[in-house]
Structure formats: C-alpha cells, structure tokens
C-alpha cells in the first residue's frame, strides 16, 4: 500500500484548498492575501483554491495576533476542518504577536492557541511570500525534498 500513500501525498501537495480567517489583523495582511488570490498571481497554477467553508479547506490562513475575543472562534473554525489540516500564520503579528505582544487584549501569535505549520513573516507579508509559504508547507509533506528545503522567508515545521 506504499504506492497508495504516495499517491495521496502527491494529491495533497497538488491540491491545497485554503480558507482565510482574520484573527485580529489591521487588514494589511488580509489585503495581501486577497491580492495573492487575484489573476495576476494565478495560484490555481498550484491547485490552490479559496474556499468559503472550513469543511472543504486544507489550509487555514490566519492573519493577525489572536485577540481574546477571537480566540474561541478561531479554535472553533479549526475544529470544523477535516483532517489532515494545516495552519499558516501570515504576517509578523500572526507569527509572534508583533507589536501587540503583551497587550491586555491579545493572547500572542497564532501558536499560542493552535499548532502552526508555517510562519510567513512580513508587515504585511507579500503575496509572493504567502504563495511561497503555502507551497513550501505542502512540499514538506513529501519526505524527499524536505531535506533540501532552502531556508528563505519561511520555516516549515511538522505538526
């Protein structure tokens, strides 16, 4: 059944469907995510599609620091996604909490609440960086190229 596992991994890498969720960002990262979805960047080349419902999605794109108000909603959206699922933190705030670190209403980065698979820094992160991050996250599923993954803007960790 090794070939079947290989086929499934290949399909997962080739068809990441994303859902976008704003966890309290200033909107800059959201605009960059929306820009990444435009025909100019044409992410359908990589099989990436934006989905409206968490049930269809494989990758949760989070932007912004996790505020206390959004925390429950974020966990709920995450739990509605079917396995296997991945979380990508887009932007500096989502990675670490950014300048909002330690604020009374902020829990910190996305990894304070959910297991994060990829961090995409930038204020805001550029569309190229977001596409690069999602593609690298998925290629890290494949055991072979992951060893030779070049270290640039993104570090992919296994969940």
């Amino acid at each position: 059944m090794k070939w079947l596992q290989k086929l499934i991994t290949w399909a997962r890498i080739k068809s990441p469907w994303v859902i976008h969720f704003n966890t309290g960002a200033c909107n800059a990262c959201d605009i960059e995510i929306v820009a990444a979805l435009t025909p100019r960047f044409d992410i359908e080349r990589f099989g990436i599609l934006l989905k409206g419902t968490p049930r269809h999605a494989d990758v949760l794109l989070c932007s912004g620091p996790v505020t206390r108000q959004i925390q429950d909603r974020l966990v709920r959206i995450y739990e509605q996604m079917p396995e296997p699922k991945f979380v990508v933190a887009v932007g500096t705030c989502a990675c670490s909490g950014g300048v909002f670190q330690g604020c009374y209403n902020v829990k910190g980065g996305i990894d304070a609440v959910l297991p994060v698979s990829a961090y995409i820094p930038g204020c805001p992160a550029r569309p190229e960086a977001i596409i690069d991050g999602v593609v690298k996250l998925l290629s890290s599923l494949d055991p072979k190229p992951a060893a030779t993954l070049p270290e640039t803007t993104t570090t992919a960790k296994s969940t």
Binding site: K14, P39, E44, G47, G52, T53, R55, P82, P84
Partner: protein, 311 residues
C-alpha cells in the same frame, strides 16, 4: 451478462464517464483561466482534487440526519450515470432505448438537483438550508424552458425516443438547423442546472459560504463533485445528441472522435458563458428565465409545430 456489466461499469459506463467528467472539468477550468489571462491549473488538477478529497476525514454534523447525509451523494451520482445510458453517443442507437426515454433522461437529470436540495436540507446548517431552498427555487425557473427546448426537436421528429430522433435527423440533417433557438435555450438552462456562473446562486461562496455543500467534507464531497462533473458531460451529450445530430453514420471510431469534439464545443460554450457573465440575484434569475428564456422555448415549440405540419 458480462458484456452488460462491462458496459455498465467500464465502457461507456461508470469508469469511462468518471475519467471523461474529470477531463472535461480540466478543459472547463483551463479555458476559464485562459480567458481571464491566467495560466490555469495543470492537466491532473481535477484528479488530484478528487484523490485528496477521497483521502480526507469526513465529518458528519451532530444535528444532520446521518443516513440522508451519506445517501444523497450516491443518489446524485447514480442518477446521472444512469441517464447516460439512454443517450445516443457515437451511433444512432444508445445502449438502452425505449419509446419515451427522452422524458426519462430529463427526469434523471433533475434527480441530482433534488439530491442537492435534500443534502442541504438534512445538513441542518443555516447556510446549507439557504442554499437548498435557492437550489429548488432555481430548479423551477430553468427546468420548464429546458423541457420545452428539448421536446421541440422531438416534436419535429415525431418520436419520444432519443435513438429514433437521431435516426430521423440522420435522414434529414437540414432540419436540425430549425432548432437553433432551442439550442441556445438549452445551453442557458444547463448553465442553471450545473449551478455555474451566472446561475451559481445556490452555492454563492461570497454570500452563503458554500451553499448546499457547506457541511460536506472528504469522500462525500468528492462524490458530489464527481456527480456534478458527470452531470456536465451527460448534459453536454444530451444537447449534442438532440441539437447537433451529425456524424453518426461514420462507424464507431470516427463517431467517437466526433462525439468528443461535440462535447468539447458545448463545454467551451458553457465556459465562455461562465467567463463573460457575473452572478445574478435569485429574483433576477427567475424573472430572466420566465420572461425571456421560457417564451423563447415556446417560440421554438411553435416553430416546430408549424414545421411538422408544413414539411
């Protein structure tokens, strides 16, 4: 017995239809992307999507009816595959035929829409329910014009059997030219049946999340997507058999090439419609269908009634 099983399951049955449906989804998405000045997905994209969804966890919401929730995708898939056997493809005779199979094909093509409605209804999610009611509202708008448009050529041929219709148009190929209004009406109605832009109101993802399929995930969603892909091919084949009845007498090999070519043309026309138009609101859609498309279909019926008396 073995031949029938081969016909049902492999060619031109389930396996061929699945692969053909996925290939046509690629053609549609690629054309859509090229017309938007994009590069578009690679050729294996629908296959990758299908395998990925089939390997994902499937979640059944606690409040949903588990039996109906699981049954509806199978129901939709079965109905469209069954409809395919009654349509003449590359010969003048379909795999199974009887007098009145035209009505059965149209009926079987309505079943997936009802399955979408029941699936959304039994998901018991707010968005799925809105999508389900919109599916049904839309059904009443496009179904009548589609019926009339497909029945008009049958009226001219004087038969209710698809196979006998293709035989008739094989003898009188010029008569197919009278059905041009019906052809356009059928294309518009099929766009509604497949729930694509401008009639993708039931699954408008910018308003109601995912519409009917909001709660579906994993294998069940894969089955629904497959059903929609196959429905597109079956609808295109029906339109090809009824409105483009050419090239049936050239033997199976050439007949197959011509059949694929006809389906490609219809899929390309549907992709063009999808690219140049934007989504309508539900009441705009019903008004358009009842005030413009239905009278056009009636006109086609009238033309064919007069012609069948004159010719």
């Amino acid at each position: 017995m073995i031949l029938s099983l081969f016909n049902l399951l492999i060619f031109p049955g389930f396996l061929f239809l699945s692969l053909f449906g996925l290939a046509m989804e690629f053609v549609d998405r690629k054309l859509y992307a090229r017309m938007q000045n994009r590069i578009g997905p690679p050729w294996f994209q629908p296959f990758a999507d299908f395998i990925k969804l089939a390997a994902k966890e499937e979640i059944i919401p606690e409040e949903a009816d588990p039996v109906m929730f699981r049954l509806m995708p199978v129901f939709a898939l079965t109905a469209v595959v069954t409809a395919f056997f009654y349509i003449p493809l590359w010969g003048t005779h379909s795999l199974f035929a009887f007098n009145g199979d035209l009505i059965v094909v149209i009926y079987l093509l309505t079943l997936p829409t009802l399955a979408f409605f029941l699936a959304g209804w039994h998901s018991t999610s707010l968005f799925a329910m809105i999508g389900a009611t919109r599916t049904l509202t839309q059904l009443f708008a496009y179904e009548v014009p589609l019926f009339m448009a497909v029945l008009a050529p049958a009226l001219l041929a004087g038969t209710w059997s698809l196979s006998e219709m293709t035989v008739f148009y094989q003898v009188h190929p010029a008569y197919a030219g009278f059905n041009i209004i019906g052809f356009i009406v059928a294309l518009i109605a099929i766009q509604g049946k497949l729930e694509r832009v401008p009639f993708d109101i039931p699954e408008a993802e910018t308003e109601i999340v995912g519409g009917t399929f909001t709660e579906y995930s994993g294998r069940l969603l894969a089955m629904f997507r497959m059903a929609i892909d196959i429905e597109a091919v079956v609808c295109a084949s029906l339109v090809a058999a009824v409105f483009l009845p050419f090239g049936f007498g050239l033997g199976p090999a050439w007949g197959f090439v011509i059949y694929v070519f006809k389906v490609l043309i219809i899929i390309a026309l549907l992709a063009l419609l999808r690219t140049v138009l934007a989504r309508l609101r539900i009441e705009q859609m019903t008004i358009f269908c009842w005030k413009v498309v239905a009278p056009a279909a009636l006109l086609q019926l009238l033309i064919n009634l007069i012609l069948s008396g004159v010719l």
